[in-house]
Amino acid sequence: MISQLSWKVGGQQGEGIDSTGEIFSTTLNRMGYHLYSYRHFSSRIKGGHTNNNIRISSKEVRSISDHINILVAFDQETIDVNAHELVSDGVILADAKFKPTKPEGIEAALIQVPFTEIAQEHGSKLMKNMVAVGASARLMHLHSQDFEDMIYKMFIRKGQEIVDSNIQALLAGYEYIQNKSEFIEGDFELEKVEKRDQLYLIGNDAIAFGALNAGVRFMAAYPITPASDIMEYMIQHLPSVKGTVIQTEDEIAAVTMAIGSNYAGARSFTSSSGPGLSLMMESIGLSGMTETPLVIVDAMRGGPSTGLPTKQEQSDLMQMIYGTHGDIPKIILSPTDVEDAFYLTTKAFNLADKYQLPVIVLSDLQMSLGKQTTPVYDLSKVTIDRGKMITDQIADENGDYYERYEITEDGISSRPIPGVKGGIHHVTGVEHNSIGTPNEGSVNRKAQMDKRMLKVKDFSLDKPFKVNGEKESELLIISFLSVNGAVDEAVERIDNNITVIHMRQLFPVPIEALRPYLDGAKKISVIEQNYTGQLFNIIKMNYGGHDKMDTFVKYDGTPFKPVEIEDYINDIL
C-alpha cells in the first residue's frame, strides 16, 4: 500500500490525452484524493508529443513529483521521452498496437495492453482512453464503480448507448489488468481515503471565478496562452449573470476598454500574458495617472518575445513593477496557491477600487494550467467594497467642476461616476489639478504626484506573505506562485531550521513585514523561475543584508521538482 503515486499519460497531441487525464483525475477528486497535475504541451494543435501528469495522494500535494510510477503510453515516443522519469519498480502500460519497446537501461516493467484493439471491439478505437483509465484504476486497486458513475455523468446527454459502450471499454481494461496482476511486481495499491467535498481546478478558473464573485460583469481580452482560459471561463459563465466578454482587436484595446468600463463604474478586467502586458504598458500608466481602478491578470509564460509560449517561467515581475514610463502607484499580488487565487482575486478588485489604481494579479503557467485539488470556496468570505466611488447625486452648489483629485490626507479622493449629477469633472493622462484640468505648473505637479504616490506608500495586505517557520532560522527561503509547492515539499524532507515565505504582495515590497525574517535568518535564498533572479533583486534593492542573500533559479521551461530544491538546500546548508 502506498500513500502517493505519480501517473502520466502521453501520446500525440489531439489524440485524447487530455480527456484521458480528465476522466481519471475527476473521478479521483470525487473519491477524495489530493491531486496535482502538470500538462506538457506545445503550440501545435495536432501532432507533437503531449502528456498529462497527475500526482495522486492521500495527503495534500502541491507540486509535481520527482519521478513517475505509472506511464500510460499511446505511442513509442511517449516511452522514449518519459521512461527515464520512471522509478525502477514502476510500470509502463503501453498500447500493444504500436509494438512498444523499452529503451535500454529502463528497469520499470513494460506491460502491453491492447488499448486500441479492446476499444475497437467495443465499438470505436476512440475509446482507447477508457480502456487505459480502466487499466490504471485496477492497477491502483480502485473500485471501478466510481469511474462508471463518472462516465454516466459525462456521457448521459449523448445517450445511454454511449454510456454503456464506454463503461464496457473501461471494464475491459480493468479486467485485462486483473488477469495480469500476478505478473505485476510493483506496489501500486493506493491508500484508501474518505470521500471529501473538494474542488479540482486550474488556477485560471480560480482567478476567473474570483473575478465573477468580485462583481465583474464585463470583460475585454485578447487570446493568449496561458491566459485564454480566464477569458473563456468568463465567456462561458458571464451570460448566467447577464454579463459579457468582448474579444478585442488587441491587448491595448482590451485594457483601455477595461479602463473605460471601470471609469464608468462597472468592475471590469482583462487578462493576458507577457507579450500582451508589454502592449498594455502605456495604458497601465493611464490608469495610474487618472486614478482609474483597473485589475489585470498576468499569467506568465516563458519570455522574452514569443519565448516559450507553453512553458513555465516567472520572468515578468520586473516588467510588472517598472514597465510603465513615469512613476505611478500600483499593487502587484501573487496568490500562494489555487485556493488563494480565488480569494486574492476578489480582493484585488476591492484594492483597485479603494486605492484607485492598477492592481496586477500575477500567475504563472504552472499555477494557471496545473489542475489541483483545493477546499471548496466560501462565499461568506467574499466582500465587495467599492471604496470612495459615488453613484448618488451630489449637491451642486457652485455649478463648477467636482474636485475629483482633491488633495486628501490619505491621497484618496472621491470618485463620482459619469451620470452622477453634480459630479462632473475632467479626467486626463496629462498632469492635472484637483478638478482634472490639465495643469503643468510645478507646484501642482508636485502636489498631485505626492497625492497619487501617497495612496500606497505604506500599503500592506493583512497577510503580505504566508510564512511557515520562525523568525530566527538557519535558512529563509522566499518563493512565489507555483514554486511554493515544490519548496514546501523539499523543505519537509530536510531536518533543519528552515523558514519558508510564500509572497502574496510583491509590490509595494512589504519590506517592513519581511524584515524580522530577513534579519533573523543566517542565510536567505530566493528560489524562482527566471534567469536574472528578479524577485531576489527586488528584495535586495529594499534590504541591506546582501552578503547572506542567494538565489536559485531555473529557466528551462519546466517547473521545479522538489528534489532539485532539496539538493540545492543540502548544498548550501
Partner: protein, 288 residues
C-alpha cells in the same frame, strides 16, 4: 432642460485662433442640448492631439485618454452604462494611424456610440507632420519632398468596415454639423462622423476656402439613397471622398449590446454584484 450654455465650462481652449476644432466643439455642445441630454449624461472620450483637448472644453464627463485609444475606452464606458450618451473624438492621426485598428473594429462591432474625427490632414499638436489622410504630394516637415503615400479616405474605410452610420461635414458648417451629430447620437449603433477641420497653422493647402471649392453636399445629387450601400460607395468613389451630409444609414442591424441576451435589462452600474448562495454553488459545482 439644459441649453448649450450648460455645456460650457471655465476652461479657455488653447487652440490657435481660427482652428477648425472650435466649431466641432460648439456643434457637440449644441447637438447634446438639442437632443435634450443633461451635461452629466454625456461622456466625451477623446484621444491625444490638438483635437483630443476637446473633452476638456465641454462641460460634461470627459476623459482625455492616450493617443489613439479613445475608441476602446469609449466602448468600455458604454458597456458599463448604456444610459450614457457616449461620444469619442480625436484627430486623423489618432484615428487613422496609431488608432486605426480600433477604428476598424469599432465600426464592425457597432457599439452604440458616436465617433467624431476632427480631420485636418496634418499632425497639429506635434507641429506639422504628414498624416494618414494627407494627400499625395503634400509637403510637411516629415515629407519635405511631398508625401509619396496614398491618402486614407476615412468614409471609404468606414463603408468597407461594416459601418451602420456614416456622415461627413466641414467644421465651417456648424449648423449642418450640429444636425449630423444629433442624428449620430440618436442612431442605435456606431456612428462615424468625419469632419474636415482646417488646421490654420500647419496646413496651408486644405483651407476653409479649399473645402468650399471641393466638397459636394449629397443634396446636390439626384435620388441619393442613404440606405443603399452599393450606391453610397459608388458616389463616394465618384466624388473622391468629398461628399458631405449623412451618407449612409443601416437601419436593420441592431447595436452590439442588443444582441446579448439580457445585457441591457439593467446597466452594469445599477446591478447587485454579489452572487446568491445557490448561484454560487451552481457555478462552483463545475469544479467538482
Amino acid at each position: 432642460m439644459a441649453t448649450f450654455k450648460d455645456f460650457r465650462n471655465h476652461v479657455k481652449p488653447n487652440w490657435c485662433p481660427g482652428c477648425g476644432h472650435f466649431s466641432i466643439q460648439a456643434a457637440i455642445q449644441r447637438a447634446a442640448a438639442n437632443n435634450g441630454i443633461e451635461p452629466e449624461e454625456l461622456a466625451l472620450i477623446s484621444g491625444i492631439g490638438c483635437s483630443g483637448r476637446v473633452s476638456g472644453y465641454i462641460k460634461s464627463y470627459g476623459f482625455h485618454a492616450t493617443h489613439g485609444r479613445s475608441l476602446p475606452l469609449a466602448q468600455g464606458v458604454k458597456m458599463a452604462n448604456d444610459d450614457l450618451t457616449v461620444v469619442a473624438s480625436g484627430g486623423d492621426g489618432d484615428g487613422f494611424a496609431i488608432g486605426m485598428g480600433h477604428t476598424v473594429h469599432a465600426l464592425k462591432r457597432n457599439i452604440d456610440i458616436t465617433y467624431i474625427v476632427m480631420d485636418n490632414q496634418i499632425y497639429g499638436l506635434t507641429k506639422g507632420q504628414t498624416s494618414p489622410s494627407s494627400s499625395t504630394g503634400f509637403v510637411t516637415k516629415s515629407t519635405p519632398d511631398g508625401s509619396i503615400e496614398a491618402p486614407i479616405v476615412p468614409i471609404k474605410t468606414a463603408m468597407a468596415s461594416g459601418a451602420t452610420f456614416v456622415a461627413q461635414s466641414v467644421s465651417s458648417d456648424i449648423k449642418g454639423l450640429t444636425k449630423i451629430i444629433e442624428e449620430a447620437m440618436n442612431h442605435k449603433g456606431f456612428s462615424f462622423v468625419a469632419v474636415f477641420s482646417p488646421c490654420v497653422t500647419y496646413n496651408k493647402v486644405n483651407t476653409y476656402d479649399w473645402f468650399k471649392e471641393h466638397i459636394v453636399p449629397i443634396d446636390t445629387i439626384e435620388d441619393y439613397d442613404e440606405t443603399d450601400s452599393n450606391a453610397v460607395t459608388r458616389h463616394i468613389n465618384e466624388h473622391e471622398g468629398m461628399l458631405t451630409g449623412i451618407l449612409y444609414r443601416d437601419t436593420e442591424r441592431k447595436s452590439y449590446s442588443e444582441y446579448i441576451d439580457g445585457y441591457l435589462d439593467e446597466t452594469l452600474v445599477e446591478r447587485e454584484l454579489k452572487l446568491e448562495q445557490d448561484q454560487f454553488d451552481d457555478i462552483m459545482a463545475a469544479f467538482k
